[in-house]
C-alpha cells in the first residue's frame, strides 16, 4: 500500500537516530520520564537490531524519527512545568 521508493536507512543514520534519541532523553527534567525514554530507546533498538527487510527497516526508522519529534516537544513542555522539588533519585549524596 505504501510506495516502495523509500530506501532503507544506512547504519550511520540509524546510529545518529539512536544518539539523538538518547540526547533528547537526557534533556528531560523529570527523572522518571528521562529513565523511561532511555530504557525504551535501548529496548526498541535492540529488538529491531536484526531486521533485514528494507520496508521493515524504513518503517522502524520513520517510527523512530516520529518518536524523536514527540520526545523533543515533550522535553520542552516538561521543562515549562518542571517540578520545584527534584526527584530523590536526582539528588546526589553530599
Amino acid at each position: 500500500m505504501a510506495a516502495s521508493g523509500v530506501a532503507a536507512p544506512t547504519r550511520t543514520e540509524v546510529l545518529q537516530l539512536y544518539r539523538s534519541l538518547l540526547r533528547v532523553a537526557r534533556q528531560f527534567c523529570d527523572y522518571n520520564i528521562r529513565e523511561y525514554s532511555k530504557r525504551r530507546t535501548i529496548a526498541a533498538f535492540r529488538d529491531n537490531k536484526n531486521l533485514t527487510d528494507p520496508s521493515q527497516l524504513s518503517a522502524a526508522f520513520s517510527d523512530g524519527n516520529a518518536q524523536l519529534e514527540v520526545a523533543k516537544r515533550q522535553a520542552l513542555v516538561y521543562s515549562l512545568y518542571a517540578p520545584k522539588v527534584k526527584s530523590i533519585m536526582d539528588i546526589k549524596p553530599s
Binding site: R11, T12, L15, Q16, Y18, R19, L22, R23, R26, I42, F45, R46, K49
Partner: protein
C-alpha cells in the same frame, strides 16, 4: 560634511590616546590570566581512571577485562549500539558534548582517553 568630520575626529581621538596604555596592560593581565583553565585541566591519570570507571560500570562489560587500550567491540564484545551508549556515558561523566562525527570514531578506551584529555572543556 565638515561638521561630521569634526565630530568624528573628536570621537576617534580617545582611541588613539589609549594605545600607549594598552601596550602596558597586557603584561599585567597576562600574570593574572583570567578565565584560564590551564591549571585545573585534568591530569592524564585522572582521565584514565574516570574513563575506565565509566566503562567498567557499563552493565554488559566484564570489569576484569577493562584496560586502557581495550577495544569496545573487538575485546569487550559490545556492538555499535553499546558503543553509542558508552560514549554518551562518557559525555555525562566529563560534562562534554561530543559531536556525532567525533563520537563515531571513538571505539576504544585509547581513543576515548585521547579525545577527553585533549578536550579543553573536560570537567
Amino acid at each position: 560634511m565638515a561638521f561630521r568630520a569634526a565630530v568624528l575626529r573628536h570621537i576617534r581621538l580617545p582611541v588613539q590616546t589609549l594605545k600607549p596604555t594598552a601596550s602596558r596592560a597586557p603584561s599585567q593581565w597576562s600574570l593574572l590570566r583570567l578565565f584560564s583553565s590551564h591549571d585545573d585541566h585534568l591530569t592524564k591519570e585522572e582521565v584514565i581512571d574516570r574513563v575506565l570507571d565509566v566503562v567498567k560500570s557499563f552493565p554488559k562489560v566484564d570489569p576484569s577485562k577493562v584496560t586502557p587500550d581495550v577495544h569496545f567491540q573487538k575485546d569487550l564484545g559490545l556492538d555499535s549500539l553499546d558503543n553509542v551508549e558508552i560514549v554518551m556515558a562518557l559525555e555525562e561523566e566529563f560534562k562534554l558534548e561530543i559531536p556525532d562525527k567525533e563520537a563515531d570514531k571513538i571505539d576504544s578506551c585509547n581513543l576515548a582517553i585521547e579525545y577527553i584529555y585533549n578536550h579543553p572543556m573536560a570537567g
